[in-house]
């Protein structure tokens, strides 16, 4: 059963939006709330995706005995056809596979975040940004060249936990899963930002010394924030792998998985989760629209339309930075008390002044 074009477009859009919103929200915790310039977002995203490429498939191949004389990396398509045939009839295993893989990716992300936090608590900020960037480059370079991990330049196919849905509806199922995960993560980061912890993070961002004076362990908190942020980003990477059904190291670059989330956070509004959501939505929609209308412009231009996209994004980013550096939806002051209690206090104050 084929899906109508408009629905395919929408599903594609929502899936991409979900993945990038998850990654941007994780960056927002690190940069927006805590002020860590994580230019190595790619590290965690690629880590999550590489995990999904390397581990669950191997375990399933062992459990289902799907290997029979096939090489996991070289005959990846054959192995996965075998595994997916079994998965397509076994709903329970598919769902277990999905949940366990996401948890595993989150765990790998946390470990990578812990490794990244080693320089993060020692270095000055501009050195830190470049070190994190370099660490991400190293991981991707290993993924691209070490064939036994995820097949090097050719990539690997991964088990498809949505196969039982059938046909093209698997994309609908995958997109719904991504959106559910996004909602859970949004709920989580939003509750952090409203909690006392959220105010502590902002205090560390705005004035590290005074946060320390008030007894906050800045080093430990930064470490934890990087671990949480990285595990969220790794879940995003894992979901993007499940959506496409394969992992290719070349698909993970500094531009797509570090700079674009930065653009989304900056345009939408750092330290405001809904701003970041809006930023991701705008960014993804803009890109999608450009690619959709690519063929219309093609005859008139002596070059590939893809490059106009970079041009447009660069210009928009610079304009936002100069004229609206706080983003479209700026950070809101955090309410320490509920509105009812605040009104109560205001009323009492008014009574006092009236006396």
């Amino acid at each position: 059963m084929a899906l109508p074009v408009a629905l395919t477009f929408l599903i594609d859009l929502l899936a991409l939006l979900g993945i990038f919103a998850i990654i941007s929200l994780s960056l927002n915790i690190e940069f927006g709330y805590t002020g860590i310039p994580n230019f190595g977002k790619l590290l965690a995203v690629a880590g999550g995706a590489f995990f999904v490429g390397a581990v669950p498939g191997r375990i399933l191949a062992y459990v289902y005995n799907a290997l029979d004389n096939l090489d996991y990396i070289r005959d990846t398509n054959l192995v996965m056809t075998n595994i997916n045939r079994i998965l397509s009839t076994d709903v329970l295993s598919s769902i277990t596979l999905l949940i366990l893989s996401l948890l595993g990716a989150a765990f790998i992300g946390a470990i990578l975040g812990f490794i990244a936090s080693y320089p993060a608590i020692r270095l000055r900020e501009d050195y830190l940004a470049i070190t994190l960037l370099a660490m991400a480059e190293i991981l991707v370079m290993i993924g691209r060249n070490y064939e036994d991990l995820i097949g090097g330049t050719r990539g690997v196919a991964i088990p498809d936990p949505f196969r039982w849905v059938g046909g093209e509806w698997r994309f609908v199922a995958a997109t719904c899963t991504i959106l559910v995960v996004l909602l859970l993560i949004l709920f989580y980061v939003e509750s952090i930002s409203r909690s006392p912890l959220g105010r502590t993070l902002r205090a560390i961002r705005d004035d590290e010394i005074s946060a320390e004076v008030f007894g906050k362990d800045v080093v430990k908190i930064r470490m934890k924030v990087l671990m949480v942020g990285s595990s969220i980003a790794a879940v995003g990477g894992a979901l993007s792998a499940f959506l496409s059904g394969s992992v290719v190291a070349a698909g993970f670059t500094r531009v797509t998985h570090t700079f674009w989330p930065w653009v989304m956070v900056i345009i939408g509004g750092a330290a405001n989760n809904f701003g970041v959501l809006l930023g991701s939505a705008l960014f993804v929609t803009l890109r999608k629209v450009i690619t959709f209308y690519k063929d219309v412009f093609k005859p008139f231009l002596p070059f590939d339309v893809v490059w106009l996209e970079y041009l447009l994004l660069g210009i928009i980013l610079i304009i936002v930075l100069i004229y609206r550096p706080e983003g479209i939806i700026p950070e809101k002051p955090s309410r320490t008390l509920s509105r009812r209690e605040l009104d109560q206090i205001m009323r009492e104050l008014k009574l006092k002044t009236a006396k």
Partner: protein
């Protein structure tokens, strides 16, 4: 007879040290880690392609135009993007993002230009190498003389500029203490603008020579930028001469290190070549967080 591996390593190190020196200059003056620096070099690369392949000039004619175009592109970044941001009190993260945004714009223009060259003049504008256009001296490519010579000339002129000319001394004053410098009548903004022009020009110059050594593409600069930062950080990020030696060290370590290792453990190691500069950088940062020039060498030497 000089082995080709050694020769290429020296040329690469010379080009890298020119790039890291120029990156460090703008970092010192305006405190911006400039991510667009790699693409200033790519502009030089495509200037060479344009002049050598389309206009059929000698490859070394490209040096002056590359210097000027690179300088102008850097100056535009400073005057129209960074200066307005700095006037609004932007912090270094915002400035860094702005250079990335400018980098995207440059990248898009470079790709459009490459597509245009391919379609209009039917020349390969992607993954090209112009080694065959170089002249030869005593069986060696001319670049083997030109690149180290240019690197040494550039660092010596930096020394002369910063120590022997009035403008250079004013520039140093503006680096040390901008507000005090402007009180005594130094045009701080002018010194910053000039530093951006020099930086972009030198990067364009280094880039112009790159296609004579390695296979180039529109993303060559984006690949190189990580090496440039590594070299500059190893040198301390705030010291021009440190950056020069950092570039030499990283360039030689990458080329000779992988060359040596591939003989020892097998050719598979060549794929991981770029890890060497990054690993170098991480190790330097962990043990000498302010770079090699921050280590009190004189003290250590005196103790012996």
């Amino acid at each position: 007879m000089i082995p080709p591996m050694f020769r290429d390593a020296i040329i690469f190190a010379a080009l890298l040290s020119m790039l890291s020196t120029s990156l460090t200059l703008t970092y010192m003056t305006t405190k911006v880690p400039n991510f667009a620096h790699g693409n200033f070099a790519t502009i030089g690369i495509y200037m060479t392609l344009l002049l050598a392949k389309v206009l059929k000039l000698n490859v070394y004619f490209t040096l002056i135009p590359s210097l000027i175009v690179g300088g102008v592109v850097a100056l535009i970044l400073y005057l129209f993007v960074l200066k307005p941001l700095m006037d609004r009190g932007a912090n270094y993260i915002t400035l860094m993002i702005a250079t990335i945004a400018y980098d995207m714009i440059l990248f898009s223009f470079l790709n459009i230009f490459a597509d245009y060259l391919t379609r209009t003049f039917k020349i390969p504008a992607r993954l090209f190498i112009l080694k065959s256009l170089d002249f030869r001296v005593m069986g060696q490519p001319g670049l083997f003389i030109i690149a180290p010579l240019l690197a040494v000339i550039s660092v010596i002129s930096f020394y002369l500029l910063l120590n022997k000319t009035k403008f250079g001394i004013a520039m140093r004053a503006a680096i040390e203490n901008p507000s005090l410098a402007s009180v005594v009548g130094i045009n701080v903004n002018l010194t910053y603008a000039v530093s951006w022009f020099i930086s972009g020009g030198l990067a364009g110059l280094a880039g112009a020579l790159t296609p004579l050594l390695i296979t180039c593409d529109t993303n060559t600069g984006m690949t190189l930028i990580v090496h440039i930062f590594a070299a500059s950080i190893v040198g301390g990020l705030t010291n021009i001469y440190g950056a020069f030696f950092g570039g030499l060290l990283i360039g030689l370590a990458e080329r000779l290190g992988t060359g040596y290792l591939s003989l020892q453990v097998g050719t598979w190691i060549i794929a991981y070549r770029s890890i060497i500069p990054l690993a170098f950088m991480v190790v330097t940062l962990l043990f000498a967080p302010k770079g090699l020039t921050s280590i009190p060498w004189k003290k250590i030497l005196r103790r012996r």
